[in-house]
Symmetry: C2
Subunit: 149 residues, 2 copies
DNA sequence: GTATAATAGTATGTATGCTTACTATATATC
DNA sequence: GATATATAGTAAGCATACATACTATTATAC
């Protein structure tokens, strides 16, 4: 009679809590290091570090966010003097982005810290379990991508 | 030289995207079913279904949210007429919550839909892989819990 | 070449999710 | 029983995240 629905088994609930854990670790380590950067902001800086001169839509695509969110994130990064934004000469709708030197410096400082904290997120798992988790996550996402795109 | 930092391997990034996928599926299925309920709201209703007469702090704890967020969620659920909220006689700081009959009805309608969509989130995985994923997620979260609480 | 569709970005609004600070109440200490 | 401490909830504020509708510009169709 008791069709108990347990949140603890639901992938959706587990994933949300993992995301919570991950975000929390990110914030703590950033604060500790004296960095004023969120995880989205890091993702944006990182993407621009490897692919300079992309526009906002491309950036949004690379790090899997929608245009509206990226617009706000970019605004804040420009305000902080970490990226530059200018109208693309060839397509006046688009705004091309690139890191400022301050942005490049910050990114260089952030990278080792972020790499280190990635390991913390799944620190309860063995190295092998960690790899399995990453593979399964990638597999789940790959299908979702092909369904959409 | 090229210390390429790939987001695609980072647990944090993968987890965020899984959460995105999960939320997106939830929203699509709710919309399809004509339900105006978010995943947090469902979690709250579900928790109150199995444990009536808890206060907001307990609810927050059960579904792993902070008090401030739950306060807003509860406000919206009350506005929708799905839960009732009254001051606890024994502790006038606390507000005890319970489902209204509309809330109970909605929850009963939602449960099969939510159960079904949970399966969609990891639909790229085999049954065995699904179980492994859930186990690893639980393991990762268990340690995090014991670190905090 | 003009009407149409597609695309880049912005604006607006809703809902999380969190922190910090605050009020009200309850508990513990002395 | 006054005082310090802890707890429940709210308030304010920041930063996502997303949908939808809008403007500006470009590409396409005819």
């Amino acid at each position: 009679m008791n069709d108990q629905i347990s949140l603890e088994i639901m992938p959706g609930h587990l994933i949300r809590r993992l995301n919570q854990l991950s975000t929390s670790i990110f914030q703590i380590r950033m604060k500790e290091g004296g960095f004023d950067v969120t995880s989205v902001q890091f993702a944006a800086l990182s993407a621009l570090g490897s692919q300079p001169q992309i526009d906002q839509a491309t950036l949004a695509n690379m790090i899997a966010y929608d245009r509206a969110t990226i617009g706000d994130v970019v605004k804040r990064l420009v305000q902080k003097g970490l990226i530059e934004r200018r109208v693309d000469r060839e397509d006046r709708r688009a705004r091309k982005l690139c890191l400022t030197s301050a942005g490049k410096d910050l990114l260089a400082d952030l990278e080792p810290v972020v790499l280190a904290l990635q390991g913390e997120i799944l620190s309860a798992l063995s190295e092998q379990e960690h790899d399995v988790f990453v593979q399964l996550a990638q597999k789940a996402l790959l299908k979702a991508e092909s369904d959409t795109g």
